[in-house]
Symmetry: C3
Subunit: 429 residues, 3 copies
């Protein structure tokens, strides 16, 4: 009964046209042109490297795309079990008519060539979006992104702020900020003016969120203007040589100032909590970050209390933090559970985390899923994975365990998949 | 097979008459008189507030009960998915003949009125207890509760000690202690005499447990009499201005002294570990507490070793601490796993935590469930939720996975639901 | 469908002849001679003690084996629910023809006697291994073990190093090291020579791994030769009175030196992370250790980066650390997930942890299971428990959820059960 029911629910959920509330798409080049774009996704390079493929074989400068794919495929045996591998196969089957279950040294080249042909069609981007049932995709824009040359109603700007908070002591970051805003930054006041300008620019271009990823030891707190002024002057003057206390104070001040501007502009502030950068020092590109799961949302207590008018869609990196996310979303009106991030974006963790969210957080405060994709081709299989798990949770825990009708379960599914993205990010639909 | 089996097991388990080993029932007013008593439960007010309902609409002074329910119902859409919502619906269906699946602006008033009528009957309390299959309910009594005016064999006293341990520096608490005991408290010795008097009073009135809730950073340790005397004198003299070290030492001394008296009087000492009070500063009444899940039972190492004759029924707030609870109950003879507390009292967490307990803790050391209820009406649906999950775990993990007979599974179910409450709290049955 | 499928997969997996990559078998006395050897396993004594049996009844000096079993059986009621109890029953049913489901005061003696008779047969060891489908078993050898008197291709040596790292300040340990190596240890250089000698001895005898168990607060780091020399001289001179900083530096130096020798000798270094020793001070033998689950693999960041050529099969004590293990194995080429250790070796945790591993770690980097057994009789039921859970995960999460064929699922099962033990520990097969 449950398997058939899951299938039925999935098919219904799969009809819904979605907006993806977080991705790393480059709107000037959203889709892939060869399989190397797809298989170059860090999920594949890092898993292949983890399974023994030397980094220099993957990242050899000037490597021809086809040769890169050949090398990766040769080393794909060890990762065939992973859910990440299944994303590729599912996409290739659906969009390229790939008929096999594994990519091998015998079948990769034909797929490479036929895929390249398909991807060369003018309508490839449209086709992928349509077949993926995506009508909007949130971006992750550097603060100095001009946000030009693309349709901002399809590719929705989102101000990413890691650099501003954590890397302002680096000269190039400060320079980029000056260039982007035309403001010469000499201290607290000018920095705030620059932030104002960034927000005006982003909001003017249709940005619907501000976002940041945060290390596990970050615990934001208020910093006075005077203390901030000293700290900012010191980090601008001394750069990475500045006193760590000044870097710390400046980071907290900038973070707090961003939250204030989110309040002014009614922008949700996506918090992605828990990543340590560069833990595996010599890993492949984007395959070096890990975490310390000993993080608590209690670290955000002062923030959540201080900014009651700002909605914080919160993502946590580790499933062990999910119950805190459930509880904080259950208590704080401004805390919302947001998707299944990175190392928690695998079925066993999604299933456990999602079940807990759907039974204890108000249904209007759960954002089901975002793809986090770098190329459009991953939207379809990643959302499909999520929708299958959502269907499983709805079937097993609502229809069977709680006696809900299928319709009522689907209604809940629609709310977390689509409705909440619209309402929380204030999309006009 | 499994769904039918679960149903059969549930029906058997649901026949057992139970004693609820932890609640917040007021024995002088145990049942509700209107739906406002039921829907005023913090689970509903805090979820509604979290979903956007302003606090002042919920807690307006002098608000008419019916108007309160009207307002809550108007804002109930967002929480219809929650398990807490299902408790209300299940109770209303069973006890008030409510025929719908949702409480709406169209059907609430008729329910309100018919419920008020039912609840006005003289036998409502008896009816609720009988239909809920509860013959005894543990209370949570302030240390200065006279414990009079009710049947202590039905409503079983339990000495709650948070105030004594953590708030003795507050003048009203010290005064209440003096008033309750008739002892003028000037230092360590008189405080101990007062504690002796409290225990004599509670034990004389049939108390069957001592209980306390503890913040995640508490790590109890022995404090010498001399150090305690200094600390207690200082906190009595300086109140909240006292040196934090003195408050800390006094808290630890009182806690240790309570454990000693539990040993003398052979009372189990319920430890409810992990709550931070007032995290959401402006939340609704009883909807402000959260937690830092970074807590470990290793913090109780000294206590568990020092008081081998005291049974400690331990509740943990977060599911991530459950495995420690399983392991500590498996090793320490005096540690017992107790129910599913608060933020872990939702099906996904109960299921995972219960399965782990039933397969690795001696069956005599698992207390299945307590309701934590404030009004009798919640005993039925909360226990029903637990019994369904217990039936699921027994069906899937014992009958199916381990080949047990249904009878053997039911025997285990009975032990954790009823038998252990009797044996651990020494109830004469 | 799923139950039948699980059964089919289990039957296939159960045909595979295995090598057990971690045990505490004494190769000079690998099998039991009476039920007292089996039921004396700490899992039974500690659970019985936890359920109320006094330690002195279990550990009475000179206690007759049969009387010991009689006493344990009398106290077995409370632990009949545990998975540990089921290991004994399953073995007794399969190997001794035990026909009951419980061991009681009425049936134990007949079993005791018939078992003693069976175990007295010359071929008992062979029979147990054959019926358990084990052809090799890794040992846990003290560093001064002569490794003589047994077949090292069946009982594969493994250098256990806890004493060297954490207890070198104890005079008997230093003396054992001098006796084992013939080197008089006076400082850093002579200690390193002694380590070289140990590795030469172990590798010469066919050792296939180095192993250590580590407390939750250990965070290994590099120590310079000069600092190490001072530290080692001080701990050799002052023993347990030495400055804790010196003990700390020496422990880190020895640990780092062991990793260097693993690199030189191409030995995997098993890290078993998270145990606190002696937490329950008066517990039964081997029933005193617990843990603080607040541990992170980030503590091993420097180690994993420094020793890229060393494979680290990592076991974690608590399931809350499993996701970190999944993620670190997914990123670091030299980190491998190893079995389900001790307090995580129960079905609910194995199932959750295994599912997460199989969907996100390259399949070549998951070592399915080790028995951790002290007597051969436990290999069969412990591996059977794991194989049933593996069959469940493969059936539910691969065949059903992901549409895999049974053959493909079995291939994955074989890899983690057998293939990876061979490849990671470089067994010639």
């Amino acid at each position: 009964m449950s398997i058939e029911l899951r299938k039925q629910l999935f098919e219904q959920l799969d009809q819904i046209v979605l907006v993806d509330p977080h991705s790393h798409i480059n709107p000037l080049s959203p889709a892939s042109t060869t399989l190397a774009d797809i298989l170059g996704y860090h999920y594949y390079t890092e898993l292949s490297h983890s399974a023994g493929m030397p980094k220099d074989q993957i990242e050899e400068p000037g490597l021809d795309p086809k040769e890169k794919v050949r090398r990766l495929v040769e080393n794909f045996g060890p990762i065939e079990n992973t859910i990440q591998y299944s994303w590729f196969i599912e996409f290739a089957q659906k969009m390229f008519g790939f008929a096999d279950e594994r990519l091998t040294t015998s079948n990769w080249e034909a797929l490479y060539d036929s895929a390249a042909e398909r991807m060369a069609c003018d309508d490839w981007e449209e086709t992928v979006l349509r077949e993926s049932k995506l009508e909007g995709v949130f971006l992750t824009n550097d603060f100095d992104d001009p946000l030009e040359g693309f349709d901002t109603s399809r590719y929705i700007p989102c101000l990413r702020t890691d650099d501003l908070v954590f890397h302002l002591a680096k000269l190039p970051v400060a320079e980029r900020l000056e260039n982007a805003t035309g403001i010469s930054i000499s201290g607290r006041a000018t920095l705030e003016s620059a932030l104002d300008k960034l927000f005006d620019h982003f909001v003017g271009k249709g940005a619907r969120a501000c976002a940041i990823s945060l290390p596990p030891d970050f615990a934001p707190h208020f910093v006075s203007e005077n203390r901030a002024d000293v700290a900012i002057k010191n980090i601008l003057g001394k750069g990475l040589e500045a006193d760590p206390n000044d870097r710390h104070a400046a980071a907290n001040f900038v973070f707090w100032s961003l939250a204030e501007r989110c309040r002014q502009h009614k922008l949700p502030f996506d918090l992605m909590i828990g990543v340590n950068r560069g833990v595996y020092e010599t890993g492949v590109f984007q395959g070096q970050d890990l975490y310390d799961s000993r993080v608590s949302l209690i670290q955000y207590r002062q923030l959540f209390n201080a900014f009651r008018e700002v909605t914080f869609p919160v993502s946590v990196l580790a499933s062990v933090t999910n119950q805190e996310l459930v509880s904080y979303s259950w208590i704080f009106p401004n805390v919302v559970a947001n998707g299944h991030w990175w190392y928690s974006n695998t079925p066993a963790y999604i299933e456990h985390d999602l079940a807990a969210r759907l039974e204890a957080i108000p249904q209007t405060k759960v954002i089901g899923y975002y793809s986090d994709m770098y190329k459009l081709e991953f939207g379809m299989p990643k959302f499909a994975m999520f929708k299958r798990i959502l269907a499983k949770v709805l079937a097993e825990r609502f229809v069977i365990d709680r006696g809900w009708s299928e319709d009522r379960a689907l209604e809940l599914g629609r709310t977390v998949l689509r409705g909440n993205v619209e309402s929380i990010f204030q999309l006009e639909s």
